[in-house]
């Protein structure tokens, strides 16, 4: 009963407030209960300059593509609360979603979106391609993946593993979708461990053909995007057996369907079936029953087989050959890492906009209810994630440049950085999506509000193109190898960002203060200290196990706890350094001011959340308390900038969701009658 009274009072207050609020004094029509008030605009910096810094490149192309999608019925526009939103219809069946994906590709193809994606050269063409793929991913992950498989995996394999004869035949055909490509690498029995795949290829010198075979069920190709319905050609990864000797994994072009979509002889294809997300992509399984392909179908930039059946390779070392084959997977990790950041941006833009318009509970009698984002606890949930997303956005831009400007000398760095960032950014995205979903309460559960569905659509990112845990171990392994080699040569560190280890260990002030923790010197020092100390500890532990007679591999496996901490330390530091660079490149003082707050938040919340800082004593418990208090202070300092910070993400309203705007109108009775 008391509850009911309280509720009545609140409702009455809303109605009265409305009349009292009108300062003009004119008669006001009674609004029914709550009405939507847009978030207050209080940008202290130029949002479009910030967007330029965040998106980094090809803004005109991005907006053009947003326009193309917003303007076609194929992209499922819906009117909600006076605004049009575009998002896929996830209520469609798997088959319908797959057909829509192909129709959307055709529409984009007809309008020239893919021009230059295979035939363009130079870093400009590559950056354009990456920008457009990012925009596509903001609309739908399935669409981006379907396009990514065709251009980056199939097309990338042709580009990187193929030679002129393949380029002439396939690049233009790929760009115009004369054929549809897929990428048959993973098998039922082997995913991350590509070296262990079981598909076998032999050579028949009499007919000058390769014979590809799936020898057992675990060798069936699995998860092959595009294979179940649409792809006409594939790049098959297979062990190559020449004159009884296994030469390791090689890649071959094989046709799997004719132009009418009929499956070719000696090929069997089955569907992977319905998935928790990404159902607009037709993942399939492929069996090869001694399929014969012409000799020229071997992608021979790394190794070749002569017509009389001799194995030829410029790279004698099998490990290096394998490494060369893995190179195109880097592009996948780059695009995955960057798209993960865009999803975090999207969910934060929605959740923060909602939290600036949705109120809950009054804290004074008869007072208005409080905006969600005015609760310190709500700030603590969203604003640190916002800061991390900014940091990772800069890291994503850096990774793209590293990829586009790659040289043979940078391949190792690219491999390590892309592994670490792919894992860190996709994990961050999943965590952000969950927090934003919860921060939107019940509204977060509606598919039309996007965030909940994105959890299902993007979950796969922590697995494909390298399992995140495996990738992080590779980071630590690479750091250890660098450490051991450098120590053995007794030379200074000069790779993988370890140069700071040539200097004396940084000292952390025994008594931290607010001004110290805001300084970029301190922030860099403590991240460097963590990486350096963990690398020393990791190396010591591994060698301890080795001294006890363990193999290098099992010593490494046994030291997994330190390996995990070290992988995180490396990526956090790399991210911080890209943030500092981006901050320095900002021309405007107002931009720099807000970015320095965001950077401090990124570092301090990392110190607050990663137990390694306390575990290994980089922070005393007193200093950890200072850090924790400063995180709360930063929340209230960033709060006034929250709207402008998410507006700077450059995601058009139509690609967000109804709760980001007038959610009262979107849910009005009259709106439900249309």
């Amino acid at each position: 009963m008391e509850n009911a009274n309280f509720r009545t009072q609140i409702l009455t207050r809303h109605l009265q407030n409305h009349a009292v609020d009108s300062s003009s004094g004119a008669a006001v029509s009674r609004a029914p209960c709550l009405s939507y008030a847009p978030p207050e605009a209080s940008a202290s910096f130029d949002v479009s300059s910030m967007r330029k810094l965040m998106d980094g490149h090809n803004l005109g192309e991005r907006d053009w593509l947003f326009n193309l999608m917003a303007q076609s019925k194929l992209f499922n526009p819906r009117l909600r609360g006076g605004k049009v939103f575009v998002a896929p219809d996830y209520n469609q069946s798997m088959e319908q979603q797959r057909e829509m994906t192909m129709k959307r590709i055709q529409y984009l193809l007809d309008r020239g979106v893919f021009e230059g994606w295979m035939t363009g050269t130079g870093s400009e063409a590559e950056m354009r391609k990456l920008a457009l793929l990012e925009v596509i991913t903001i609309f739908d992950h399935s669409l981006a993946i379907k396009i990514g498989v065709h251009f980056f995996l199939w097309g990338g394999a042709i580009q990187f593993f193929g030679t002129k004869r393949h380029h002439d035949k396939w690049l233009r055909a790929t760009e115009t979708y004369l054929m549809k490509g897929c990428f048959a690498m993973t098998e039922l029995g082997h995913g991350s461990n590509v070296r262990g795949i079981e598909t076998i290829t032999t050579y028949d010198p009499r007919t000058e053909e390769f014979i590809i075979n799936t020898p057992c069920e675990s060798a069936q190709k699995y998860w092959i995007g595009g294979a179940a319905n649409h792809a006409t050609h594939t790049v098959v990864f297979s062990q190559l057996n020449i004159e009884g000797k296994n030469e390791g994994v090689h890649a071959f072009i094989t046709q799997i369907r004719d132009a009418d979509g009929n499956i070719c002889p000696n090929i069997r294809i089955a569907d992977c079936g319905h998935k928790i997300g990404l159902n607009g992509v037709d993942n399939g399984r492929i069996w090869f029953d001694n399929v014969r392909i012409p000799r020229e179908n071997i992608l021979n930039s790394v190794a070749d087989v002569s017509s009389d059946g001799k194995y030829l390779s410029a790279i004698k070392d099998a490990d290096q050959r394998f490494g060369a084959f893995m190179a195109p997977l880097t592009s996948g990790r780059v695009t995955i890492a960057v798209s993960a950041v865009y999803m975090a941006k999207m969910s934060l833009a929605i959740a923060i906009r909602y939290s600036l318009t949705r109120r809950a509970f009054s804290i004074t009698p008869n007072g208005a209810e409080v905006l969600l984002l005015d609760y310190p606890s709500h700030q603590r949930r969203l604003l640190p994630l916002l800061a991390k997303t900014y940091a990772m956005s800069f890291a994503g831009n850096y990774l793209k440049l590293l990829y586009v400007r790659r040289t043979p000398q940078l391949i190792k760095t690219l491999h390590v950085v892309s592994s670490g960032l792919k894992a860190a950014l996709t994990w961050h995205n999943m965590r952000t999506l969950q927090e934003c979903r919860e921060a939107c309460g019940g509204q977060g559960l509606k598919t039309e509000n996007r965030i909940g569905q994105l959890k299902a659509e993007y979950d796969v990112q922590s697995t494909f193109e390298g399992d995140n845990n495996v990738l992080m171990q590779q980071v630590s392994k690479a750091l250890l190898a660098e450490y051991v080699a450098t120590k053995r040569k007794n030379k200074p560190f000069k790779e993988l960002g370890l140069e700071h280890m040539n200097k004396p260990s940084p000292t952390i002030p025994s008594q931290l203060s607010s001004s110290i923790v805001h300084s970029s010197q301190f922030q860099n020092d403590i991240f460097c200290l963590r990486e350096r100390d963990l690398l020393n500890r990791f190396a010591a532990e591994v060698s301890k196990y080795q001294a006890q007679g363990e193999s290098k591999e099992s010593a490494f496996n046994a030291s997994y706890q330190l390996a995990e901490d070290l992988g995180r330390a490396f990526t956090d530091l790399a991210i911080l350094q890209t943030f500092v660079e981006a901050e320095n490149s900002a021309s405007d003082a107002s931009l720099k001011n807000v970015l320095s707050l965001v950077r401090s938040m990124y570092v301090l919340v990392t110190l607050d959340e990663d137990p390694a800082f306390l575990r290994y004593g980089y922070l005393t418990t007193e200093n950890a308390a200072v850090v924790r208090k400063e995180v709360a202070n930063l929340c209230s300092e960033i709060r006034p900038h929250a709207l402008a910070l998410v507006d700077s993400f450059g995601i058009p309203d139509a690609f967000l969701s109804p709760i980001a705007f007038d959610w009262v109108a979107a849910n009005a009775w009259s709106a439900s009658q249309d």
Binding site: A27, A37, P38, G60, E61, W64, F66, G82, K83, R111
Partner: protein, 380 residues
């Protein structure tokens, strides 16, 4: 019938029970919006918003035009005397009026019985009901004048079906009442002879319920047929070509289509693009593309920046030249500078979208109306 204004006033106001009828009254100038008219309309709209006895508003024009646009001749006159800032004040007021109309809480019925161009669209298309007739003639001719579709056109043009808005905004194509209805620029089509009866019916109903008003207008409406050679029949070509990323690409795409088949409509479309100011084309396209992704408020703020840069003439003085050639000397032979699309760089286009570097200059500040869902609601 009570008239509150003398006959010489540029806006005549009639009070008809709960309705207010604003009649644009500069028939000799085709009701082009003078600074006085803009101020008066703004004042009228704001006071009627507060006046609970007013239920709806009708806007119409005297003579053969609804409104042929803003008074650009006066603005150019100011620019030539070195007073671009008085031009800026004119646009500031006009765009504020556009915003007030776009976010207005009471239904506005605009009777577009004649010419509707530029600024005329700005005082009607943002309102709830737009009635076209067999006499309607709509165009956004700004690119031929060295200007760009302003008055919030980047908002409403970009929301027309497909890429029809790019077509209308870049070429200045003329639309009749039927085409306006087909593309959504008007909400109803009524024969002009029925207009007096329609007005009476609205006054008699004395309601602010948009559903009721809509059904009253529907009672007088009929569904006209598009003329055989209407551009609206060419929507597929328009979508294919005008969706291209740049003006150059659009022209190239049109020429490619016309190479495949001889077609007068395509050649005249290409012709009008080639006659327009190249700078205007580039900034117009970008403005419409940005407008598609923004609310009406942001559109007007951006267009205000753009129009100030147009008047400042730092990149191009095509506005002055266009007005000279079309409105003053009437030789219809403007000398555009830069004269070629390819000599206009992205950086030059960027300039139009940046803040104006002038100590006294401010971005357009839009009025905040606490009782409205101030989030700009599309009525289109």
């Amino acid at each position: 019938m009570a008239s509150t204004n003398g006959e010489t006033d540029q806006v005549l106001v009639e009070e008809r029970s709960c309705g207010r009828i604003f009649m644009l009254n500069r028939p000799k100038q085709l009701n082009a919006l003078s600074s006085v008219m803009v101020s008066r309309l703004l004042e009228l709209f704001l006071s009627c918003a507060e006046d609970s006895s007013v239920k709806f508003i009708i806007v119409k024009g005297k003579g053969r035009a609804f409104c042929a646009g803003g008074d650009v001749a006066a603005v150019v006159h100011d620019i030539n005397r070195g007073y671009w800032k008085s031009g800026a004040e004119y646009f500031r007021k006009e765009f504020t009026l556009n915003y007030v109309i776009a976010t207005y809480s009471k239904p506005q019925v605009s009777i577009l019985n004649g010419i509707v161009m530029g600024g005329g669209a700005g005082v009607s298309v943002h309102g709830r009901f737009r009635i076209a007739t067999e006499k309607s003639l709509f165009a956004m001719p700004e690119t031929a004048l060295g200007l760009f579709p302003d008055i919030g056109a980047s908002y409403f043009l970009s929301r027309l079906p497909g890429f029809f808005g790019e077509y209308v905004g870049l070429t200045g194509a003329r639309l009749d009442g039927t085409e306006m209805l087909a593309c959504g620029l008007s909400t109803h089509f009524v024969q002009s002879e029925s207009l007096p009866l329609l007005e009476e019916a609205l006054v008699k109903a004395a309601t602010s319920d948009p559903m009721v008003i809509s059904s009253i207008i529907e009672g007088f409406s009929h569904a006209p047929n598009l003329k055989k050679n209407s551009a609206y029949h060419r929507l597929d070509v328009i979508n294919k070509c005008f969706s291209r990323r740049t003006v150059e690409d659009i022209i190239e795409a049109l020429e490619r289509v016309s190479a495949d088949m001889k077609d007068d409509w395509i050649s005249s479309t290409v012709q009008s693009l080639k006659k327009a100011s190249p700078t205007s084309l580039k900034i117009s396209l970008r403005s419409i593309r940005e407008g598609r992704l923004q609310g009406i408020g942001k559109c007007l703020v951006r267009e205000f920046r753009m129009v100030c840069h147009v008047m400042l003439g730092e990149v191009s003085k095509d506005f002055v030249e266009g007005c000279r050639a079309i409105l003053v000397d009437k030789d219809r032979n403007p000398k555009w500078a830069p004269s070629k699309l390819e000599s206009i760089s992205d950086e030059m286009v960027d300039r139009y979208f940046s803040k104006v570097d002038d100590a006294d200059w401010e971005d357009l500040k839009l009025p905040v109306n606490s009782r409205l869902p101030a989030y700009a609601i599309a009525k289109l």
